[in-house]
């Protein structure tokens, strides 16, 4: 038994392969998916997508988006999916410091800042 994991970005289909186990970085924590999972639609956070495949584990940083699980197919919709190895820790650290500098004097601006900080933190954690 295996699950098919499909990662789609607006530019191309980044990944389409079989895996034994998939861990999705959800908005509020990690969610593991094994074959036979009941259908869900979930909101992704900024974190690491982990796949357990025959060829060994694989890790990708996903930049928000959605996940849809149905009949042993995991569809991940995200703006970007980057293999963790090619992430730059110093770039992520810089993004975080920039995000922390953003203004937050109105509720709308505060929300925008929060998203930017969350994203940068996720990226930094994945890069380490």
């Amino acid at each position: 038994m295996s699950i098919r994991c499909v990662v789609v970005t607006p530019e191309r289909t980044e990944l389409d392969r079989e895996a034994e186990f998939v861990a999705l970085p959800m908005y509020d924590g990690e969610l593991g998916v094994q074959p036979g999972r009941a259908p869900i639609i979930g909101r992704l956070g900024y974190g690491v997508l982990r796949l357990q495949t025959n060829a060994g584990p694989q890790r990708y940083f996903v930049d928000g988006g959605f996940a849809q699980v149905e009949s042993d197919v995991v569809n991940v919709l995200t703006a970007r999916a980057i293999a963790v190895d090619s992430l730059q820790a110093d770039e992520a650290a810089q993004a975080l410091s920039e995000a922390l500098e953003l203004p937050s004097n109105t509720p709308e601006l505060a929300k925008i800042k929060e998203t930017a900080v969350l994203r940068a933190r996720g990226q930094l954690r994945a890069a380490r």
Partner: protein, 299 residues
């Protein structure tokens, strides 16, 4: 009759031009194919988003979001004009500007502040010539617009819209319908209006038929997902506009260059004929002179 040598020179230069236009045609064809593939890849993403929206609606979620609602008072508006960086693509840029100008004028009459953004050197210069200075200029987009770049622009617009700096965003771009038909259109992207787009019906049917029984669990909640779907679908829509514009530009260039190559061929044929006639008459003239000279000597 014209000078044979001058005609030959002209024919040579036209031959060189034909070489250039033919090469440009081939390049445009290759780029068009690449751009088409990218546009097709983006469709996979939009289809999935549409499916999710459909599932949300099926689950009885009230599809409401500030980005979806028309504001009562529209005071300021932004127009993004997508043109190309390079010329030699027939009527592509002209038709964009021809669509954009009346729209901008009517917006100027309706509301106090209208700002214009332009993508592509041709768009910026064309607007300047018509007396409009582009507020923001995007010159980095070629035949393969990157999502990361478009996303930045989209986020800036979302920020302006949410904080109330703008009440409306229109995009003027060339919509790709088929290889033989592209039209310049004005589309209102903010407020989004509806999450569903034209290609929905086909997708909806297949979803409805296949997964009629599946009950989705929403994590963390349907509302939270909706909150994220709406801005994402705006970004993807904007990206789609850029992709369509890129594909249309390459098609326009391909067709324009094809026409240029053909006309150069015709011109060369015409010139060859004139050149041969000129040469023939020159030779005849020379023979007549020689015969005349010989006759004069004999006489």
């Amino acid at each position: 009759m014209a000078n044979a040598r001058a005609l030959d020179k002209r024919r040579k230069s036209i031959r060189n031009i034909r070489k250039i236009t033919r090469t440009m045609e081939l390049i445009a064809t290759a780029r068009y194919k690449k751009a088409m593939d990218r546009a097709a890849a983006a469709t996979a993403y939009t289809d999935q988003i549409t499916k999710i929206v459909k599932q949300l609606a099926d689950a009885g979620t009230d599809v409401q979001h500030p980005l979806l609602e028309q504001r009562d008072n529209i005071n300021s508006s932004r127009v993004l004009v997508l043109a190309s960086n390079r010329g030699l693509c027939g009527g592509y840029n002209a038709s964009i500007l021809r669509t954009a100008m009346p729209h901008i004028r009517s917006l100027n009459e309706e509301m106090e502040s209208v700002s214009i953004d332009a993508s592509g050197k041709r768009g910026v210069n064309g607007l300047k010539f018509r007396g409009i200075d582009a507020d923001q200029q995007f010159l980095q987009f070629e035949d393969q617009p990157a999502y990361a770049e478009v996303e930045k622009i989209a986020e800036a617009y979302l920020k302006q819209y949410i904080t109330g700096q703008i009440d409306r965003l229109d995009v003027v771009y060339t919509k790709f319908i088929s290889t033989s038909k592209q039209i310049a259109v004005v589309e209102t992207l903010l407020p989004i209006g509806s999450l569903a787009d034209e290609s929905d019906d086909a997708v909806d049917d297949s979803v409805g038929a296949g997964n009629a029984h599946s009950q989705y669990e929403f994590l963390p909640s349907a509302e939270s997902i909706l909150e994220e779907v709406v801005p994402t679908s705006f970004k993807v829509k904007l990206f789609k506009c850029f992709l369509d514009a890129a594909v249309s530009e390459q098609v326009a260039r391909m067709i324009a260059m094809k026409g240029a190559t053909e006309s150069a061929g015709d011109m060369i044929k015409q010139l060859s004929m004139t050149y041969n006639r000129a040469r023939q008459s020159q030779i005849t003239g020379e023979i007549m002179e020689i015969i005349g000279g010989v006759e004069a000597l004999e006489g």
